[in-house]
């Protein structure tokens, strides 16, 4: 049962990734692309957790945690760049 | 999976090489990043591909992947981070000093290359 759910979950993540990539390709704005990147990062957290369940290990937890904690820094930096040019000012 | 990883590394290398051959500093920096991705995965993969066997000692573990390439890659990542930082700063400083971000520090004349 879990295997089936996992398979569906992986498929969902895969399809979601494809969607994000299409948005990344289409844009049209930089903000769209950064948004796609941000969503990809979120998907990555999900993917890592799914992998953890599939492999029955908690060893990937830190990776998910770091993405959750620091993933937004990239997004913020890109936005700050678009907004002000200077990321740190 | 081997074919995927090998071809992926190949693509990363090709892109990195192509970018390194561009005439402006920024794509070159990007190219170096790509080469660094490529070589990191390559070096990591020299321990062969193993799924679900992280090198963390656990009596219940069925086995471990080769930890040594991982340690080497960690070192390599760190070093290439330092190098990238330096090269980025150099690209910036060169531009501020020369007024051109061409890799040769001067705009190519009429010749279009």
């Amino acid at each position: 049962m879990i295997e089936v759910a996992l398979a569906i979950g992986f498929a969902a993540v895969g399809i979601a990734t494809v969607f994000c990539l299409i948005r990344l390709a289409l844009g049209p704005d930089t903000a769209d692309r950064v948004l796609a990147l941000d969503t990809l990062v979120t998907n990555a957290v999900a993917l890592i957790m799914l992998l953890g369940i599939a492999q029955a290990t908690a060893v990937h937890f830190e990776a998910a945690l770091l993405i959750a904690m620091m993933g937004f820094v990239g997004t913020v930096a890109f936005c700050k760049f678009v907004l002000r040019g200077d990321v740190i000012e | 999976m081997e074919a995927l990883v090998a071809s992926g590394v190949g693509v990363l290398t090709a892109v990195g090489v192509y970018l390194c051959l561009r005439g402006r500093t920024f794509p070159v920096v990007l190219g170096l990043s790509f080469l660094s991705y490529a070589v990191n995965v390559f070096l990591f993969a020299t321990g062969r591909l193993v799924v679900g066997r992280p090198p963390i000692i656990d009596p219940a573990a069925p086995g471990y992947t080769d930890p040594l390439p991982q340690a080497l890659v960690l070192t390599a990542i760190v070093i290439s981070f330092g190098m990238t930082a330096l090269v980025v700063v150099l690209a910036l400083r060169g531009f501020l000093e020369a007024g051109s971000d061409h890799v040769d520090g001067r705009e190519p004349r009429d010749e279009r290359r």
Partner: protein
């Protein structure tokens, strides 16, 4: 006593950290610490050299982990020789630089000590991945030193220098990865042992990895066509830095000796016979291109930079020959060419800083102070560079000719060496007579001649000492040559190296050729 083996790495590292930590606002203190460290290091290097003379390679097991599992340093005659050469050069260059050059940018002394650490580490290590790490240490320190004083030429040149070296570093990792993927080891002694045991199905992979590593070292050694980075680097760096860099290309040469000729050169190794067919043509091209550069150079520093190239070409010709006789000749020339090039850089700068706006451009300029003295210095440096008697350049060259005798196409190699020597003589004669003999009509008399700046004595003394070294090398060529022969023999004594590092229990393998 073996604990001293790690000192040439650890001491400069600790000292550099201390300089950053406590002395970063106090240049005088930095100088004192830096000089004292370098003097001490020279002492240690000499001590290690004497220690290594008994002919037994000494492993130093870092972290007390047994080889090949941990990282091991190996002190043998070759590494000790390189240590002495490096510290000697470093001390003289540092003396020179401490008279004012170090003021032009930040962190000169810390970077300098880190540079020494990187060089020493690269010469001492017995582990290929650790060699990569120390290559990176010495490279990044060299980037820092290269950029010392900044300026547009250095910044733009710096980008190129860094880029090309990053490419080489990337290739280094590809190569090391491939080697590990086949042999499962990184320790050089272990590699020497295992290379012979790799089966035919993976021999090709190993050979590829080793060949790629050769390309990496060729980049460092600036062998054509991988040399294109050198003129813009050595010709642009602050002259004392360029002088120190004279030893950097030799790291590439050292690595080829250590890895390709010694480790992977043993019987049964799939990578045997790789060096000569690739390196000799490259060396010839380097020699020719370097000489053309010397002949066409517009400034003295450029000329010196190209002379480094030409000397690397000469060196590589004989370096590629995998016999202990040839290697001894290569080592002699290596030592000589390092000191000669450094001397030329320093003399060039002494001239440049006295010629005002003309700097070291090879155009007529008014006479300048201390002309006679510097002319004599230039003469010595030029003699050494061009390989004219009676200095070590000539001895090195005849030894090389001797060693090349009988290799394939040797008449051509001889012709190349001799003809390029002649062209170098021509170029240096032109440059010297232009700089020291041809007075320019004084430009419109300056209303206010600039006040005579105090000319510190120390740079002159440092340069003079450096220039005296080729004389000593020539004078004591005999005893030195004996040392070098022993060094070369030890390099090829693979069995004893393996036993020293891995212990005598390692199964006897047909390692000797």
């Amino acid at each position: 006593m073996t604990d001293w083996i790690i000192v040439p790495v650890v001491l400069p590292a600790a000292m550099a950290a201390s300089i950053v930590l406590v002395a970063r606002f106090d240049l005088a203190l930095q100088r004192t610490l830096s000089l004292a460290t370098t003097v001490f290091l020279l002492g240690v290097a000499v001590g290690l050299f004497l220690l290594a003379r008994d002919g037994v390679p000494r492993p130093y097991l870092l972290g007390a982990w047994p080889a090949p599992f941990g990282i091991v340093l190996v002190l043998d005659r070759l590494s000790a020789l390189m240590l002495v050469l490096t510290q000697l050069l470093a001390l003289l260059v540092l003396l020179y630089a401490a008279a004012g050059w170090d003021r032009q940018g930040r962190h000169f002394h810390a970077l300098f000590q880190f540079q020494l650490m990187g060089l020493n580490g690269a010469f001492l290590t017995g582990d290929v991945f650790n060699l990569f790490v120390f290559f990176e240490v010495l490279l990044i320190a060299s980037y820092g030193l290269f950029l010392h004083g900044a300026g547009v030429r250095r910044l733009v040149g710096g980008f190129k220098y860094v880029t090309i070296n990053l490419l080489a570093s990337t290739l280094f990792l590809f190569a090391v990865g491939t080697i590990y993927a086949v042999t499962g080891t990184l320790n050089m002694a272990d590699l020497a042992l295992k290379a012979a045991q790799v089966g035919p199905e993976q021999a090709g992979l190993l050979r590829t990895g080793v060949a790629l590593l050769l390309v990496v070292f060729a980049v460092k050694a600036a062998l054509a066509p991988l040399h294109l980075w050198l003129p813009g680097t050595y010709g642009v760096a602050a002259p004392p830095v360029a002088a120190l860099f004279a030893v950097m290309t030799k790291v590439g040469a050292y690595a080829i000796l250590r890895v390709h000729l010694a480790v992977f050169g043993g019987a049964g190794s799939p990578a045997i016979g790789l060096v000569e067919p690739w390196v000799v043509p490259a060396a010839l091209a380097t020699l020719v291109l370097g000489t053309l550069g010397v002949l066409g150079a517009r400034s003295l520093q450029r000329l010196a930079a190209y002379s480094v190239l030409a000397s690397m070409g000469t060196l590589a010709l004989v370096l590629a020959v995998p016999t202990s006789a040839a290697t001894a000749a290569a080592l002699y020339y290596l030592v000589h060419s390092t000191l000669a090039a450094a001397g030329l850089f320093l003399v060039g700068e002494l001239v440049a800083e006295r010629r005002g706006a003309m700097r070291d451009e090879l155009v007529p300029a008014p006479p300048f102070p201390q002309l006679e003295l510097l002319a004599a210095g230039f003469l010595l440096a030029a003699l050494a560079t061009a390989g004219l008697p009676p200095l070590s350049g000539f001895l090195g060259k005849i030894w090389i000719l001797d060693a090349l005798r009988g290799r394939s196409a040797w008449p051509w190699l001889w012709a190349a060496v001799l003809v390029t020597s002649l062209l170098t003589v021509l170029a240096l004669a032109r440059a010297g007579s232009l700089l020291f003999w041809k007075p320019a009509a004084l430009a419109a008399p300056a209303a206010d001649p600039p006040p005579p700046r105090p000319r510190p004595l120390v740079p002159l003394v440092a340069t003079a000492t450096l220039l005296a070294l080729p004389v000593l090398l020539a004078g004591f060529a005999g005893p030195l040559a004996q040392e070098l022969e022993a060094t070369a023999r030890q390099l090829y004594a693979r069995q004893s190296y393996v036993e020293a590092v891995l212990g005598p229990s390692s199964p006897p393998a047909p390692l000797e050729r």
